[in-house]
Symmetry: C4
Subunit: 257 residues, 4 copies
């Protein structure tokens, strides 16, 4: 039952805005925030260590051990931005509760006023249109602010209903810390074991609008194209395999008859 | 392992009486207390936040995020009434222990002297009579007081035997806080995925007698009628389906033979 | 993670000896200690409340609610005896650790010097001889003392190997509190859903020898006879049923052929 | 949630080096460190007691109860060595987190500067060569130091990928305590229910090189030979059994046909 935040550098802001990326449906938020960090190189100022992650470490290509942790970054934009990137979600409901409360307590202390969280809403297909983003807020008055970026609020209750895990709870508990909270869920089509880069891009575009920052989507666009080509190939291969299997089956049946 | 009570308004009473509604068999207590709150609009003065609920938030129709929590209300009746409405029961035995101890500690501080809890006892059928209510008490001397409202005590041990979850523990641990405790379990017939409004009404009638309050049962009666009509339809549909399935089966068998 | 000891009366002893009964194989220790308490009526001076038991309460025949707890008793014998009777064992390894450490801390404070725990060792049959009792000790020097009561030590390692749950840990951790510890395991034949009174009696006889107390085994002997008659009947019934089933089977086979 | 370290003797060192053995793949580290302790008889100066081990005690041949624990030893070599021998790994991720943090906190206080952990990497076969040892480090600069002992670093990421449990976490979290950390994983072939003495020897040879200590491998070599003879016999027996079974099967098929 431990959540420990290790500060390398003391950051204090005024009217800060908080955004986060963690694993979830399509890993959309993780990819969006991951790309933001890679591209804009915000200042890494603190680590979150916790007993609520799995007891495993990763080995980097250079043989360095990498523990599972949360990382806090500071980005100077029109408003001060505090970014949280989590390698994992807490592995129990109790852990989630403790994690989100410790994060809220810490970012409130830093000077954050607004907590924005991001995730995916699994859908089976999106045809010929960009994925929609559904929003939910800690107070109704916040809707106006985000509707102008194209976020949909009037269907969230019907389409989303409930949000499982840290992102809903961060936004929902924000109120108890005197903070504003909002969750944004992008439609995400499950893609065989790879993150959904298209959904991630939609979220990142929203984030850039909200933060009023410029962003070069070239790299992400390339990944989207690669991913789609890969999926196309997988589909073709699957189709080929199916054709083969059909033939085999026919032979088998002929043999039996 | 967190149970935190956030007070919006400081309420202190003398010789207070505590009643509660939480999910359980037929959700009878939840519906009874829910209706009481809706109708009499008691003062919502505190929230209970805890790590022992699921890590999920709900989205209201207006896109507001609603965390899972317990809510405390104050009702001015002949005696001061403290009402607890829980969105969920704790999700582990440890959580239940912590939850009920924190609630007892808090309501004792407020000035509660008597802890009344409510639930359902699953039965398979109730024919042509109102559901019975069985009682269990922290001290034998309390029985007399509730027998006059028609609560049955002499068969509780045989019919109920043990009570699982928060309601039995709230009443049983009351003694260790110097409080009186009693649990009331209404017979409840499991009704396909809908709460048992008839059982809820029986509990609410008992609550009104104990608290000496007037209550307009019109809305609840309407829900009971609607529910019974729905169940009637479901039964008819099931019967029709069975008839159809029987026909199908006959055809199939004829075809095989 | 709560273990709370509520003292009704402050008991302090010199050179005290601790014995306990909790559920386990054949419930032998529970029955032994339960009979001791019923017969000798020691002073009930404290209750142990904990989050490590199931969240359930029992209803007594008089409709009183009975929580699950541990009870401490004081018995004046040649040496002062502290008795613990537990309604349940802790429901996790963590709970067991906390429970036994809190008990050891408490009884050390009271003045206990020696911790004796009791349980059953499941065997498939005991023919024409009383059940054997195997002992294990926190320090080898303790063996001598108990060997004179017929406790077997030289085969314990081979026959028992390890002890699961609170009783082994109470005796094993005793050393870390500066106390002597010993566990006694009686051979116990699993008897269809009823406690093993014969094993319980063997333990109780040992306890009486150690504590140098007189005990009237009449009631327990009666229970043993009743139990054995019941088992005899069950066996006969089973045999009869088997005979019947055999006949049925024969008929069925004749019918098929 | 308890990790308690009981010190029998206060040990404080300068620039100490920490090594450990706990159960894991092939139990290689446990056997390596176990042999080191048996042979060199370092000073046993502290015990680690914890709620994160199973609630079980073992019975030694002399009927003494042995709790599951961690043991700390001090060895005087060229550098001061602190050895940890764990009877078990923590039984939850939370437990592992707490355990490794308490160990790191404690050994830092003692004066340890370098944390070396050992384990096995399961492989299916090793033919005609000694098992390879893969290394992972808390900081890349440490690689140079261990490469000279034949430890492989450039394939660790590809071959190992991640390390599950305490050994990876001890080395990975070392950094947060201002300590150097490294994990060494030896290739280990699963051998029917017996520890892998060959892998253990490879680790122990590495440990001796690092600590610059002499070690007599006679006993371990004997165990390796015994083990290999046993495995050879098992294999022969299996082959014989297979031959027998084949014959039986043939007969059975002949009988059927």
């Amino acid at each position: 039952m431990v959540v420990k935040i290790v500060e390398f550098k003391k950051i204090r802001v005024k009217d800060g805005i908080f955004i986060e990326g963690m694993p979830g449906v399509g890993n959309v938020a993780m990819v969006a925030i991951g790309n933001l960090i890679e591209e804009l190189k915000p200042l890494h100022f603190a680590d979150l260590l916790t007993s609520h992650f799995n007891s495993i470490v990763l080995i980097k290509p250079n043989a360095e051990i990498q523990i599972l942790k949360g990382s806090f970054y500071y980005l100077k934009a029109k408003r001060d931005v505090i970014i949280y990137f989590g390698d994992q979600q807490a592995n129990t409901p109790e852990g989630t509760f403790e994690l989100i409360n410790e994060i809220l307590k810490y970012i409130k202390k830093i000077g954050v006023k607004e907590v924005l969280t991001f995730g995916g809403l699994q859908v089976s297909e999106i045809i010929n249109r960009p994925p929609k983003i559904y929003g939910a807020v800690s107070e109704e008055s916040l809707k106006k602010k985000y509707e102008k970026y194209g976020v949909i609020f009037d269907e969230t209750s019907k389409r989303v209903g409930s949000i499982i895990g840290a992102i809903g709870m961060l936004a929902g508990y924000a109120k108890y810390y005197g903070l504003y909270g909002a969750s944004f869920l992008v439609e995400s089509v499950p893609t065989h074991f790879v993150p959904d880069h298209r959904g991630a891009k939609a979220l990142l575009e929203l984030i850039c609008k909200i933060l009023e920052i410029e962003f070069d989507f070239k790299k992400l666009d390339k990944k989207i194209r690669e991913q789609e080509e890969l999926l196309e190939k997988l589909k073709m291969r699957t189709t080929l395999k199916e054709v083969e299997e059909e033939k085999e089956e026919k032979k088998r049946l002929e043999y039996i008859q």
